[in-house]
Symmetry: C2
Subunit: 236 residues, 2 copies
Amino acid sequence: MSGQAGAMAASPAASKSQLAYEWIHGRIVSGALGPGSRLVLSQVAAELDISVVPVREAVRRLEAEGLITFEKNVGATVAGIDPVEYLYTMQTLSLVEGAATALSAPSVRRADLDAAREVNGRMHAMLADFPENFDPVRFTQLNHDFHSVLFEHCPNPHILDLVHRGWNRLTALRGSTFSFVPERAPESVEEHEVLLQLIERGAPTAEVELAARRHRSATLDAYLARTDAHPAFPVL
Amino acid sequence: MSGQAGAMAASPAASKSQLAYEWIHGRIVSGALGPGSRLVLSQVAAELDISVVPVREAVRRLEAEGLITFEKNVGATVAGIDPVEYLYTMQTLSLVEGAATALSAPSVRRADLDAAREVNGRMHAMLADFPENFDPVRFTQLNHDFHSVLFEHCPNPHILDLVHRGWNRLTALRGSTFSFVPERAPESVEEHEVLLQLIERGAPTAEVELAARRHRSATLDAYLARTDAHPAFPVL
DNA sequence: CTCGGCTGGATCGTATACGATCATCGTATA
DNA sequence: TATACGATGATCGTATACGATCCAGCCGAG
């Protein structure tokens, strides 16, 4: 469901500011605009056949969400070249996603669990092709779908919003700092099942949170292990 | 220090958009603009003697930070009337502040600890006037100063930013949903000391995080206990 | 007296125009 | 050849103007 660019573009008479926002956002998360790409307001305006004012507004919003940086007489550039930045994003996501998953747990229904299991099954199936013929992009996509099911019921809209932003940043960053750690794939699938069982049997909130957080932290640790960019990075 | 509008108006040639942002932001967190206040772009522009375009941009930023809501042909209104909204904010703040405090712990220096203790001492002194002649606003202010010292060293800028936003929202909300729970004041001071000792002796990250989170959660629990707005609210 | 439609005002959304600032590139000189 | 300096272009920041949309109050009909 999250594959398309515009997400929900249902409104026919959306404001042009919104249009510009969704257009740029889509181009970033779809990978059409890689990190470091320059983005000139007037060009975007011309492309969308609108004025620069709404574009400017959209850029500001995206800046607030951390997807781009905006410099004074230089223009807007898609953020995320810095690997340290990537670590910060992962750490933050670990925090908020763990909380969202834990808060969602009581509201997760049978159908959700089944759907998540089905997705995880497909991830498991992909492991057969590991490591050759393995499609990390597809795997990452499924991974996102899996976790979506588990955190989307989060009753706290703030936390949920932070989770979405984190995933967006992460998606935008793929390509430059390529995050995926293939060695972790098999463990990931196992940990997913553990997480499902925890939720299934109504484990305490704190326990679910810890498990979800650990799951991501482990990935981050694996990433840190093979890079020496940031030796001692405290993982919550 | 927070009484003035501009807060830090050090930069002489700040953009007008920034000017508008700081002006509105200051009026909100200082309480001059209570929740529900309407804010008309053209009026603000006239007040600051600038055009509406930068004001509009500032409003969008503030909207992204959750301080105001912006409706199409109605205008901008300062957010935060809903008590449920308050709970969500507290819950989120509990999460991110706990993390920020834990991540800051290794970088907290002797001088910081002393400063925090000094602030907490002043809070302790205020308890003498409890419950009569007790100034909750002043107490809340000191509380913020205390925690600031403990989380400001957080190396992750994202998390730190979230903490700031949370506090801003909380500060903006005071007045309507009055959060302060007087009964908690003595315990608060004690818990602060516990937190200081944990950091002082270099306790593990997870332990510090838990303590910091518990500290806030307890306040939230106390708030929930005396209100029946939201019976079962899962506190992380 | 109440209800429905209509007119007027207010506010936002966007387009266009102009000025300010900075990066870039070419050129002259040591 | 390397470096400092100045002209040029590009881009952003803001002001102003106009159109679109919505809310409020009034007026007339039932």
